[in-house]
């Protein structure tokens, strides 16, 4: 063993040897590292301290750079080396300790004494090592034990040590609030040091402390103010500005006081960092001071004009902070903002996008979105999705507040889905379903957009679009009555490429196909009603002008009710059918069609052959062929739904094929067949309208009597323990109805400009695809034609679009800024169904654990600031002062921060140039004053009753009381500092 040790120390590899060999063998690095670790494990046990130290050095290196090893096995050797009298060994040990020790390292208990020794060392660098270690691993225990040793270091002549000791106080205060009593006063004294480094360190500590709990330090504002005015050091200025940014919102008069010096710095300073900090302070907490904001905006413009991307970025950031209150500032700089949209830097682009979205209003949303969507097509995937996300978020804010024209928005969603880089499928899906449920008037357009997406087989290959496809499939199924050609929809839903979809979405497809099928067969059996409701709906959506405002919603409702209730009214209808001849019906059909779709000849063509006997039979066959293989699918959802549809087909197919052509044309329909009854029932089920439901509704349903919710169901578990319940398929209702407010949905007058869509287009294409490739062919050219309003991605002309776009944007944003009021729209906005948030209690913010600690810290600091600690020096005190102070305290209306008043008042006095010399003594005396206040309160309790009582409680400093107060979140206290700084 001894020999081994000597060999080790003689032939030990040093750190640089090890690094060298690691560099020479880049391939077998891990092997080499583990070999070195073995060596280290041996060497670290050596009795020779320098061998041990070298081993430790190597271990630290490996752990820090290569994450090679847990260093816990070296804990004890570290402790041994910490006590080495040799500086280099000690230093190595300290480095290793600061790298590897943490609050749960057990050897921490052993180093307290060593640290104390080093803190008292004559060698300032040894003291620094100890301080440094404490700044990293200082646990409450350790720091509490060592606080007395720190006190003298806070005023030592060795500036290096003093600075580090000051910086350490932050950690001390954080971890053991009790130490505040000992350290705080000395810390404050360092603010007045002549050495810039010391002031800088002190201000740095306060900046951190204020960040945790600003209110406790309000009393020190005069000191900080002096630093702000006098200091020439940029680092200190920045920190002081940070402090004031936190303090100013708490005390209105403080803002008035500091705004001038800050503007002065903004004008004078040559350092961009200081200027920017001033700008940030102004925009974030002094935005009420017009002139300061003006100046800040000027500076921001300068920043954005710089070639340095850093300044540009920060300028944009400051602007977006300001945008909340001063939108005009964004408007003034919009050229720069819009230019930044095409910057090379993704950060800058993102900020610019955020600003552009802030300028969106009802009047310009359509145009801005159009330009941005086109711009997205040319952007890199990240930014493209950033744009899409921004549009989606902006448009759906507050229940689609900015959207006036839902037809436009729905087609925009459709267009966004077609963006090949689109990754926002989930959100688009959510919004499509959401709009379909909430905005009745958008449904026809929604169905049109859904159709376009559904019949495009190319989209099925893009997994990011699948969620959208699931939404459009659902929409097409649910609102099939708005569809021009249900058969086309069902073909799209059952196309073979749908196999590419994940099972859950496949299931949605099948379910939607189910709905469409029922609709088709139903309208085959009961053409009269269907056609009527069909055309009425169309009518309602198309020529609203022809119907009076009142009539319109009624008829719409009627149409829907018709379908849902006509089972009961069957007889009634039967009678009516009796009285009509086939001719009559046909006549009416034509009449209806002509009336409703005067402009689109296609509808007539489509609707007539739609539900012929052959057609329905073909349809049933198609469903059978397409879903047959799926009835054996492994996926529960898919299999079950396919079975459902096939079951229905099986039930009705036989009967339908038996109906002869003659019968069908004639009056046979009133003969109640089994099939028609089934279809009627199914149709009733599906025509039940889905409405948005608030999240909390479930809670309002009372439990039926006799239901024991807490009944033990363990036995049930035992029975079906091995059966996994299938996932709920009704994710639409659950997932997409985010808790909103439900109000009565009065359906409003519906208006929609005639969509120029596809009369001729769809017919010709339909004919074409049938002719060409049978049922499954779906023309893709349609896609281009459909979105011809917008230039496609690689359109040659789109290159100059960018500039055009920028100019357009500029014009548009101008609009939004100039005309802030809503333009008088010719048509009213459709109603967005909202959910009433009834009985929703605002949730009390959960109090983080941190708070408790902070409170004890702020409590301790208030103690010190108020002088609650009994200092012998503060015992004498003038009687005149006493009386005046008492008056002041009792007169002041505020109880919660009462105690801090006295000190502030005095501190204010000290700001006076004349009285600056007397500040120390005043400090002391006001401390005493605070101390006295409890008695005083007792004295005045009779007069002031409860208010005063509260105060005395506070002075009693019960921790729980303290906490309760903050939890209640006492409303903004009115002036805390009487005559502060004035």
């Amino acid at each position: 063993m001894a020999a081994q040790s000597i060999m080790d120390s003689l032939f030990q590899h040093t750190l640089s040897d090890m690094i060298k060999s690691l560099r020479h063998h880049p391939i077998g690095e891990s092997k080499l590292i583990s070999k070195s670790l073995d060596e280290i494990r041996r060497e670290i046990k050596s009795t020779d301290p320098s061998t041990k130290s070298t081993a430790l050095e190597k271990l630290t290196y490996l752990s820090s750079i290569h994450a090679a090893s847990d260093m816990s096995f070296a804990s004890f050797p570290i402790v041994e080396l910490l006590s080495s009298p040799k500086f280099p060994l000690k230093k190595t040990a300290y480095l290793a300790a600061s790298h590897s020790f943490h609050s749960s390292t057990d050897v921490l208990l052993l180093i307290t004494n060593q640290l104390r020794k080093d803190l008292a060392s004559a060698n300032e660098h040894e003291v620094c090592l100890a301080l440094n270690l404490l700044s990293v691993i200082g646990t409450p225990d350790l720091l509490r034990d060592l606080t007395p040793d720190l006190v003298s270091l806070l005023s030592t002549n060795k500036l290096l040590v003093r600075k580090k000791a000051i910086a350490l106080t932050f950690r001390v205060f954080e971890n053991c609030p009790d130490s505040v009593r000992l350290l705080f006063r000395r810390l404050v004294e360092n603010l007045e040091s002549s050495d810039q480094g010391v002031v800088s360190a002190t201000v740095g500590v306060f900046a951190e402390l204020v960040g945790r709990d600003a209110r406790s330090y309000l009393a020190l504002a005069p000191e900080f103010y002096r630093v702000l005015v006098d200091c020439k050091n940029n680092w200190v200025l920045i920190k002081v500005l940070k402090i004031f940014a936190k303090l100013a919102p708490l005390e209105a008069r403080l803002g008035r006081r500091i705004v001038e010096p800050i503007c002065e710095h903004m004008r004078r300073s040559g350092a961009k960092s200081v200027v920017f900090e001033c700008v940030r302070t102004v925009v974030s907490c002094l935005s009420d001071y017009e002139s300061a904001v003006r100046l800040a905006v000027d500076k921001i413009r300068e920043f954005m004009g710089e070639s340095d991307p850093n300044l540009k970025y920060l300028g944009l950031q400051a602007l977006s902070v300001l945008a909340g209150k001063h939108l005009w500032a964004v408007g003034e700089n919009k050229e720069a903002v819009i230019k930044a949209l095409s910057d090379a830097d993704p950060n800058i682009k993102r900020e610019a996008l955020r600003l552009v979205m802030m300028m969106v209003s009802e009047s310009n949303v359509a145009d801005i979105c159009r330009i941005l969507v086109n711009y997205a097509l040319k952007s890199d995937p990240d930014f493209c999705n950033g744009i899409l996300r921004a549009i989606l978020v902006t448009c759906c804010r507050n229940d689609y507040e900015v959207v006036e024209d839902f037809d436009w928005y729905v087609s925009l969603l459709g267009e966004m889905s077609r963006n090949p880089q689109c990754r926002e499928g989930e959100e688009i899906e959510r919004q499509l379903v959401d709009i379909s449920l909430r905005v009745k008037e958008a449904r026809p357009e929604l169905v049109r957009v859904a159709r376009e997406l559904l019949i495009d087989p190319a989209l099925l290959g893009n997994p990011f679009v699948h969620r959208i496809l699931s939404a459009v499939a659902w929409v097409s199924g649910e609102y099939v009555e708005f569809s021009r050609n249900p058969i086309e929809i069902i073909e799209a839903l059952l196309q073979p490429r749908a196999n590419l979809l994940p099972p859950l979405i496949r299931a949605v497809y099948i379910q939607s196909a189910f709905k469409v099928l029922v609709f088709c067969v139903h309208s085959f059996f009961f053409p009269r009603e269907t056609v009527r409701s069909f055309s009425l709906d169309n009518l309602a959506s198309r020529v609203s002008g022809l119907l009076s405002e009142k009539e319109d919603p009624e008829s719409l409702n009627l149409a829907i009710r018709d379908t849902s209730t006509d089972f009961e009214m069957d007889k009634d209808f039967d009678l009516r059918f009796h009285s009509r001849t086939a001719e009559e019906i046909a006549m009416e059909n034509v009449g209806d069609d002509a009336y409703a779709d005067g402009q689109s000849s296609s509808s007539v063509v489509l609707q007539n052959p739609l539900f012929t006997h052959d057609c329905v039979l073909n349809l049933l066959n198609l469903v059978k062929v397409a879903l047959g293989p799926l009835s054996g699918s492994d996926e529960v959802e898919v299999q079950e739904r396919a079975q459902n549809v096939l079951g229905l087909v099986g039930l009705i197919q036989q009967e339908i094929s038996e109906i002869s052509l003659v019968e069908m044309e004639g009056t046979v329909r009133e003969k109640k067949s089994k099939a028609s009854t089934i279809i009627q029932i199914m149709q009733d089920v599906f025509s039940e309208e889905l409405v948005p439901v608030a999240m909390t509704v479930q809670e309002r349903v009372l439990a039926p009597e006799g239901l024991v919710l807490s009944e033990n169901l363990a036995e049930l578990d035992a029975i079906c323990g091995d059966i996994i319940p299938p996932e709920s398929s009704s994710f639409y209702l659950g997932g997409n109805l985010f808790g909103d407010k439900n109000s009565v949905s009065t359906s409003n007058q519906r208006n929609e400009e005639e969509s120029e869509e596809p009369s001729s287009e769809s017919t010709s294409l339909l004919a074409q695809h049938r002719k060409q490739h049978g049922l499954y062919y779906l023309p893709s050219e349609k896609v281009d034609a459909g979105s011809s309003d917008y230039p496609p991605a690689n359109d040659p002309q789109s290159t100059d679009n960018l500039i055009d776009g920028a100019q357009d944007l500029m014009m548009l944003t101008e609009q939004s800024l100039v005309t802030k009021k809503k333009p008088n729209h010719s048509k009213p906005r459709p109603v967005v169904v909202k959910l009433n948030e009834v009985g929703e209690m605002p949730v009390l913010p959960v109090k983080p654990m941190q708070e408790l600690k902070d409170n004890s810290l702020s409590g301790a600091i208030r103690d010190v600031l108020l002088g609650n600690d009994t200092k012998p020096s503060s015992s004498q005190r003038k009687s005149s002062e006493k009386s005046s102070r008492r008056r002041m305290v009792t007169d002041l209306p505020l109880d919660s921060v009462g105690p801090s008043k006295s000190i502030e008042n005095v501190a204010i006095a000290s700001l006076d140039p004349a009285s600056s010399s007397s500040r120390r003594s005043k400090h002391r005396s006001h401390g005493k004053g605070g101390h006295r206040s409890p008695e005083k309160n007792v004295g005045s309790e009779k007069e002031d009753g409860k208010k005063e009582k509260k105060k005395s409680h506070r002075h009693g400093r019960s921790k729980t009381r303290h906490r309760a107060e903050t939890t209640l979140n006492v409303p903004a206290e009115s002036p805390v500092i009487p005559d502060f700084l004035l």
């Binding site: 820090s64 994450a67 700044s135 580090k164 800088s200 991307p309 850093n310 950060n347 800058i348």
Partner: protein, 166 residues
């Protein structure tokens, strides 16, 4: 408060990693890898700020500077000024430059402890303590002198070992 200082080369190999709150070595390496993934995807001549919330949690910012083959990275929270941090990187690099006379990556690789000494003089427990590179140099030289003085006594095994590796 500064949360971390990192130096890594353009291949993503860490050269210095200092975290001002204890993190296990694996977590440190993971963070370094994620930072590198972000930095390496950024072109030159763009801003030196990176939104780091996704890597370091809320309220964290990251600035970096790219010198020759090295990235210098500072991670900090809202109580620091971004531009000042850029200046601080400059101070750090300047000091290293003075320390090693034209610093290069090799210097940083082989002077592991010295880099830490320099950094500890500039940043203490996450707070900026010294911003003048000449002051830092003074302290660092003083420490080096101290180390040398006590090393002189135990010079023998070291010289033997360096002879042995030659």
């Amino acid at each position: 408060m500064i949360r971390a200082v990192m130096v890594m080369n353009t291949q993503g190999k860490p050269r210095l990693a200092k975290f001002y709150q204890y993190l296990p070595p694996e977590t440190q390496q993971d963070l370094i890898r994620r930072v590198f993934a972000v930095l390496s995807s950024r072109p030159d001549n763009v801003s030196d700020f990176v939104e780091a919330d996704s890597i370091f949690g809320p309220d964290s910012r990251l600035v970096y500077k790219h010198y020759a083959t090295l990235y210098f990275i500072f991670v900090f929270d809202s109580s620091e000024n971004e531009l000042a941090m850029l200046d601080l990187i400059q101070v750090f690099v300047e000091t290293l430059d003075k320390c090693f006379k034209n610093v290069c990556e090799l210097d940083i690789i082989f002077s592991f402890t010295k880099i830490h000494t320099v950094l500890d003089e500039i940043i203490f427990g996450g707070q900026v303590l010294e911003t003048s590179s000449s002051e830092v140099m003074k302290a660092v030289e003083e420490i080096a002198r101290l180390e040398k003085a006590s090393n002189a006594i135990s010079l023998v095994p070291k010289s033997v070992s360096s002879w042995q590796t030659r």
